[in-house]
């Protein structure tokens, strides 16, 4: 039976009836149309879209466009705000850093360099005591010394104390040996004047049997650091 059916199929193929050909042509046309429609709908072409649909599309695009424009505005505002705040905080950070540097020189937690003087006090008779040295330091401060160190080891800051200790002087807890070498950073002429004036440091040292020399220097470098103690009782206000 199947062989017979197959043979009949082949005979049909060789001698098709007109109606079968018409059916085949119609189905071929349908397949053709489906194929070109499917492959044609791949590309985004609006030529097949109706007018009112196009209007709708355009409207929705307009709305989307408007919404995105608003979003762009918002985001631009945010970005500008962030940028300016970044700049502000950068400026503030720079200022704070500068201030911290200045304060660290004042507090003696950083080394310092600049014009200044070097005073060398020879005291063979051991007649220069702590108050006398403190007087000398005060005179230098009055003359605008910004950073002072003694013998390159003792940095003189606000909390530094001077103490007589068994024929030696202690500055801020550090024992300093004779001869005393005071380095001060500031206007070198003013500082030299503050040492040399009549009745000043040099005269007083001479009176006590010692000798003092002053050298103005273009560059004085102080590397000695003060011992920083965090305040135990004082708290910053505000």
């Amino acid at each position: 039976m199947p062989e017979h059916g197959a043979r009949r199929g082949w005979r049909d193929l060789l001698r098709p009836k007109a109606s079968q050909v018409v059916v085949a042509v119609l189905i071929g046309a349908l397949a053709f149309a489906i194929t070109i429609q499917v492959s044609g709908s791949d590309d985004d072409d609006y030529s097949g879209v109706r007018g009112d649909e196009l209007v709708e599309l355009l409207k929705s695009l307009d709305v989307a466009n408007e919404r995105l424009g608003t979003q762009i505005d918002d985001l631009t505002t945010t970005r500008n705000g962030l940028l300016s705040s970044t700049q502000r905080s950068e400026r503030a950070e720079k200022q704070a850093r500068k201030r911290a540097d200045e304060l660290s020189i004042l507090a003696g937690t950083a080394g310092a360099t600049g014009t200044g003087i070097e005073v060398v006090i020879n005291d063979p008779d051991k007649q220069i005591d702590a108050p006398a040295l403190l007087d000398a330091i005060e005179e230098l401060r009055d003359a605008g010394a910004e950073a002072i160190a003694i013998n390159g080891v003792a940095r003189v800051v606000a909390q530094t104390y001077f103490l007589d200790d068994d024929g030696q002087i202690r500055v801020g807890g550090r024992e300093i040996k004779r001869p005393y070498r005071i380095e001060a950073i500031g206007d070198s002429q003013d500082l030299a004047e503050a040492v040399r004036f009549r009745g000043g440091l040099i005269d007083r040292v001479d009176n006590r049997g010692g000798s003092a020399t002053v050298t103005e220097k273009d560059k004085v470098t102080i590397t000695a650091l003060a011992d920083v103690k965090s305040p135990e009782y004082a708290r910053p206000t505000s």
Binding site: L26, G28, L30, A31, T35, I36, S39, G40, S47, G48
Partner: protein, 110 residues
């Protein structure tokens, strides 16, 4: 057998030639395809029930396509093109589904 050859020839021609659909035909082609599919599914059902007739198929195919295209055209003229073509697609879809259900019942008895 010959219809299958027609199917293959149509697909190959479409793939090889890749013609652009003429702009005037573009709104009608999808609806015409659905209408023709309805005719083909109906023909398959008739084939399964051994009452297939070439003449009936040809007439129903052509009339389906023409009427569907005409309805779309009419809808466009009346300003309800998209709604009417949706309606046509829904009706033809229902017919395709019911014919497919009949074929399924005949083949699977379910």
């Amino acid at each position: 057998m010959i219809p299958v050859i027609g199917l293959a020839v149509g697909i190959i021609a479409g793939l090889v030639l890749r013609p652009a659909v003429p702009a005037g035909l573009q709104p009608y082609l999808p609806i015409a395809i659905v209408a023709a599919l309805d005719a083909v599914i109906g023909a398959l059902r008739a084939l399964g029930e051994r009452r297939f007739d070439d003449r009936v198929f040809v007439v129903s195919f052509i009339s389906n396509v023409v009427i569907a295209a005409f309805m779309v055209y009419l809808g466009d003229q009346l300003g309800v093109g998209s709604q009417l073509s949706t309606g046509v697609v829904v009706v033809l879809g229902i017919r395709i589904f019911s014919n497919a259900a009949a074929i399924r019942r005949r083949i699977f008895h379910a």
